[in-house]
Symmetry: C2
Subunit: 253 residues, 2 copies
């Protein structure tokens, strides 16, 4: 039995997220189906980042075990033939049998895009959150500085979270402008349920003058979801990469 | 009776192009329907650029005549309420009754995007042409220089064209690189059927070494479609703007 690691990109628009659900198309379901069609095996992939409905990814990670003799790097093109064009395997290789994509020391990076125009642009509707009116980016940057570091993010996660600890470390949080788009890029050792979307919603409310930047410090201290800002919608969010810090995903030669 | 000018953006992915067709969704049909729902009038819009199936636009132009008393600039938001989110009115105003969006001296700009990566990226699939392998952009730029100017573009239009003259003027043709995307930006006084897509297909074949850049000169002289390169697929193409040179679309105050 060999363990294969897949690097996966997808346009999440038409999916009910990563995880298998009854009667709803998911990324996991499509990957399982493609592997079954390729190898004839009934396998279940294990994903690193189980993204929500409408959220996109580049560089998400999944593993599965196979008896197939297909070389690890050949799964990329072989599986792409069986996948819909909204899901693409970007890379694949064999890893050691004890590699688990979630039980590892990782750094994940997410990007959130806001389109700040008077009317929305149809070409951007599935990949941005359309916000009208003036937004003070400098104030957003000030607020972002309070988020960086190790904090209890209880105020910035969905109350339905099942996480045992709500402490996470944010290594960087950039607010960038690219034409009429504002990009929030955040890197951390893990993210709670809805955390990036609540941070984004809060930063936008800071940019619109609803909260003072320094109020974010009090939000963190309150450890109460009702104190932080709104949850930004899913379609602006993309997982853009996962680093395995301890290199426990090394290729099996 | 007043004539209203609309500036229209759309994601052409799910449309059979601009022009009304029996039993296929088109941009024109959606605009007519939205105007009927807003004003109760049975009107037909006249478009400046009747783009093909799968082609996108920002800044396309349409006009219609109405008895409605809605101020010209209010049609933007009023019509957007009745349009699907893949079509957006970007601006609107009243113009003089003799303004026709096609019988005017215009400069149109199109942009074509090529994604040059090993595997395609699902988020870009409806807005780029995925081309693998190495592409020599400098050679593409050399070839592009032969296209600029007034030429007979008979070799660069679909043989099904109904145009009386195949002479057009290209004011500029840029080949740019933006990360893993190659962007072809072309501005001219008019474009024949499939002309931008055939120019793009030819330039890519030059970039891949299939044609020498100077061979484009002979392609123009041949006035024969079979001599030029392939037709690039529609989804990489976006109309990005139309200038009315004689200002005959001035706002009625």
């Amino acid at each position: 039995m060999r363990r294969i690691k897949l690097i996966v990109a997808y346009d999440g628009t038409e999916y009910s997220g990563w995880q298998i659900q009854p009667e709803a198309p998911t990324i996991e379901m499509c990957l399982d189906k493609a592997i079954r069609e390729l190898t004839g095996e009934n396998v279940h992939v294990t994903g690193a980042s189980r993204t929500d409905a409408g959220v996109h990814a580049y560089g998400n990670v999944a593993v599965f075990d196979t008896e197939s003799t297909i070389p690890g790097d050949r799964f990329t093109f072989a599986l792409n033939r069986f996948l819909p064009d909204s899901i693409v395997i970007q890379d694949s290789w064999e890893v050691s049998g004890d590699f688990h994509p979630r039980h590892c020391n990782t750094r994940k990076t997410y990007e959130y895009r806001i389109l700040n125009t008077v009317v929305p642009l149809p070409q951007k509707r599935n990949f941005t959150w359309h916000v009208t009116g003036s937004i003070d980016i400098e104030k957003m940057k000030e607020a972002a500085a309070y988020i960086v570091g190790e904090h209890d993010f209880k105020s910035f996660c969905c109350v339905r979270t099942q996480a045992e600890s709500t402490v996470r470390t944010i290594y960087s949080l950039e607010v960038l402008q690219e034409g009429s788009e504002i990009i929030i890029r955040i890197k951390g050792n893990g993210f709670l349920y809805n955390m990036v979307r609540i941070i984004t919603g809060t930063l936008i409310q800071v940019g619109k003058g609803r909260f003072k930047p320094e109020y974010v410090k009090q939000m963190l201290e309150a450890k109460d979801r009702t104190v932080a800002g709104q949850t930004a919608p899913p379609q602006g969010l993309t997982l853009v990469g996962i680093e395995y810090v301890d290199n426990d995903d090394a290729r099996v030669v």
